[in-house]
């Protein structure tokens, strides 16, 4: 054997010993050192017999050294993968390399069929491969340039690709904007500077299926180093359903929070387990205050238990309960709501709770009541106005008829002897005629044919004067309370007529308490009336004079007729039924009105509304 070739054998042996070294650089360095020594043997050894043969042999030796080193390097790269992150896909990498090299993807479990010697795969590698192929999450392996090196069946299902179509493509084809656009730049920064934003962390990104649809995925990425090859393992979970569920829950929570109906959820023991903000607004209690209480805190104690039983029975029998409920708020005020109670079942059909949806009807009910009262006022006003016109027409004929009776009787009576029966009779005729004249005068006041002599006047003074007049004739069983401090100011009225109104109302109140005794209150307050608040009244500032008694009160039928001429509840010969009629006529003649509120056995309140004068002292400067 030529010396040059023989020398190469120990050097190759030295290089082979590097198999046990982990360092590639060491392998290369030793190969280089061996090559130098082999070359140096030519220059420093004994002169060869033939120079060209020696050179050729030395060249072969050096070639053998590097061939050995190269084979070792290749073998080590194939066998050694050093994980640097949480990736556990060591066994899949060789396949990825093959795929990147153009080898077609083989069935997942058939390692041998892919050309790998079955015995070359360790037991753990086979297990990991099985995990890779069967895991529900999508797994994808890419290189440092974003080229897909491998993917599992879940990934293919998720994105709609066949593995053979996906492997070799840039992974950005699986990404929706803006991730697809930014991905290459991200990889470049990572390669150049090591900037890693998502390595080892999870984040949600938009993914792109082959059919062009976008969907959300939760992505986590791991980095692995396979020899000198840098690889990334992406784990993806389809978030579409989870996001849809979260969105549905969020929407339902929003509805629960924002709907105007008060929702009360009770458990099977009847305790409140949830309560939305509308319920807080409606009932005044916060959620924390009512949790674990029963809805009976919202009802009168006398009604609560009966109502609870009715609702539970209704829900059990027909699957729901509907009804109107009177409720009591935290501050003690009362309201009305329309309630719909439904059972709530879990997925297995078990009853787990009851849901009460409560719509507050309080304002609507009050508005309806006010509307009805307003209509009643309009009806009353129209009726009384019609009566006023009728009375006015009749009064004209009455006055014409009274003229000859009074005129001729007054003319004739003095002609008869003073003590004569005839003269006495004529005086009786005159008394009757004067009474009739007075009635007609009052009727004309009611029908407002007699224009009031209106001047600026202090409302408190007018009322005070009337009260002073009333006190003299009031029985001791009736206490009169004067409440004039609340409001003072000017009105533009015929003071005499307004005094008459108060006297008439107070007399009426006094008559209602004459037997039982009681309290008569007369008060003034300044009020602002809105449009439609009271029939026939313009909106604006008014004084309200309240005349309230604690007498026997009136039923609705009596209230409806109370201002009609000649309507009276008093015994015969005790009243002619014109006092309130006249009062109403006077107040209407001052662009005001009178309202009445009464309950049988509770008493009555008449409220006189008179427009306030614009100027605090309208008479000043005149």
């Amino acid at each position: 054997m030529p010396l040059g070739v023989a020398v190469g054998i120990p050097y190759v042996g030295v290089v082979l010993l590097c198999w046990w070294l982990n360092s590639v650089l060491c392998l290369i360095a030793i190969a280089a050192l061996c090559s130098l020594l082999a070359a140096a043997g030519y220059f420093y050894g004994p002169p060869p017999a033939e120079d060209w043969a020696a050179l050729t042999n030395r060249g072969f030796a050096i070639l053998a050294i590097w061939l050995t080193a190269s084979l070792l390097l290749h073998a080590k790269t194939e066998r050694t993968v050093q994980p640097r992150s949480q990736s556990a896909l060591k066994p899949g990498v060789p396949q990825g390399n093959r795929a990147a090299a153009g080898v077609k993807q083989a069935p997942a479990s058939a390692a041998g069929a892919r050309g790998e010697p079955r015995d070359a795969l360790s037991g753990s590698e086979a297990q990991l491969r099985a995990v890779f192929d069967t895991v529900v999450d999508a797994l994808i392996i890419t290189d440092a340039y974003g080229i897909v090196r491998d993917c599992n069946p879940s990934c293919c299902r998720m994105f709609g690709y066949r593995a053979v179509d996906l492997i070799g493509q840039n992974v950005s084809v699986l990404m929706g904007p803006p991730f697809s656009r930014d991905h290459d730049a991200y990889l470049r920064r990572y390669r150049e500077g090591g900037e890693a934003r998502i390595i080892g962390t999870g984040r949600e990104v938009t993914a792109l299926r082959q059919d062009g649809t976008l969907f959300p995925v939760e992505l986590s990425v791991g980095e692995v180093l396979y020899g000198e090859t840098q690889l990334f393992v992406g784990v993806m979970r389809d978030n579409s359903e989870r996001k849809a569920t979260i969105e549905a829950l969020r929407r339902q929570a929003l509805i629960f929070e924002q709907m105007s109906d008060g929702i009360i959820v009770t458990d099977l023991e009847g305790r409140i387990s949830d309560w939305n903000p509308a319920a807080k607004h409606m009932f005044g209690y916060t959620r924390q205050e009512v949790l674990h209480n029963t809805p009976s805190i919202l009802h009168h104690p006398a009604e609560a238990e009966e109502l609870r039983l009715e609702i539970v029975e209704g829900v059990n029998r027909t699957g729901e309960w509907r009804g109107e409920i009177n409720f009591v708020r935290k501050d003690g005020s009362q309201g009305v709501c329309e309630t719909h109670v439904l059972p709530l079942y879990d997925v297995s059909g078990e009853l787990i709770a009851r849901i009460g949806v409560n719509r507050d009807l309080t304002e609507r009910k009050e508005a309806e009541k006010a509307q009805m009262a307003l209509q009643q006022q309009v009806y009353q006003a129209q009726k009384i106005d019609a009566l006023g016109n009728l009375v006015g027409g009749i009064a004209h004929d009455f006055n014409n008829a009274l003229l000859p009776i009074i005129g001729l009787t007054e003319l004739t009576a003095p002609l008869l002897p003073k003590e004569s029966k005839e003269r006495t009779n004529l005086h009786k005729v005159l008394d009757a005629a004067y009474h009739a004249q007075d009635l007609v005068r009052q009727l004309l006041t009611f029908s407002r044919q007699d224009p009031p002599d209106r001047r600026p006047a202090d409302i408190a003074e007018i009322v005070h004067d009337a009260i002073r007049f009333l006190r003299a004739g009031l029985p001791s069983t009736i206490e009169m309370i004067e409440q004039l401090d609340d409001a003072t100011g000017f009105v533009f009225v015929d003071a005499t007529q307004i005094r008459q109104v108060i006297v008439n109302l107070a007399t009426n109140a006094s008559d209602a308490m004459i037997q039982s005794g009681g309290v008569l209150r007369i008060g003034i307050s300044a009020v602002e009336l809105d449009t439609g608040k009271l029939a026939n009244l313009e909106p604006g500032p008014y004084f309200r004079i309240d005349v309230t008694d604690t007498g026997r009160g009136m039923d609705q039928a009596t209230i409806e007729r109370i201002f009609e001429p000649f309507f009276t509840t008093k015994p015969a010969n005790k009243g002619h039924g014109l006092g309130l009629t006249v009062a109403y006529g006077i107040v209407r003649g001052h662009n005001g009105t009178i309202t009445v509120a009464s309950e049988v056995g509770q008493g009555t309140r008449f409220s006189v509304y008179l427009p306030r004068a614009a100027d605090e002292n309208p008479g000043a400067g005149r």
């Binding site: 016109n389 006015g392 027409g393 009749i394 009064a395 004209h396 004929d397 009455f398 006055n399 014409n400 008829a401 009274l402 003229l403 000859p404 009776i405 009074i406 005129g407 001729l408 007054e410 003319l411 005629a433 004249q437 007609v440 004309l444 029908s447 044919q449 007699d450 224009p451």
Partner: protein
């Protein structure tokens, strides 16, 4: 004593007024409406006119206006039943248009005779 013209569509009112005025010695002429009253006022020498406000044919207001035009110094007393809506205001208008006095019905002899005396004295 004076010649007094009564214009009223109500015969009982005319009769009553006539008896009251005659009791004081006045001479009374009667007219049942404004037109007849105007004719009488033109044709006869009249010292005073007592006229109702509400009458057929010629309304009291027009009668008073026409009488005032006929004789600016003629004393006129306007009377009224005072019932209907349209009556109270015309009674005031009558005064504005020249009635010396206005008196709502019903009234007694004393009330009307005071006004008659006052009206005659103011012109006499």
């Amino acid at each position: 004593m004076a010649r007094i013209l009564i214009i009223d569509d109500d015969s009982l009112s005319r009769y009553t007024l006539a008896r009251i005025l005659e009791s004081e010695g006045h001479e009374v002429m009667e007219a049942e409406n404004g037109s007849v009253g105007m004719a009488a006022a033109r044709d006869e020498a009249v010292d005073l006119v007592i006229s109702d406000i509400i009458m057929p044919q010629m309304e009291g207001i027009e009668t008073i206006a026409a009488l005032r035009k006929l004789d600016p110094d003629l004393p006129i007393i306007a009377i009224s039943g005072g019932g209907s809506l349209a009556e109270k205001v015309p009674l005031q208008h009558a005064r504005v248009l020249g009635a010396t006095h206005a008196l709502p019905k019903p009234f007694g002899p004393k009330q009307i005779l005071v006004l008659v005396r006052d009206s005659l004295n103011s012109t006499g």
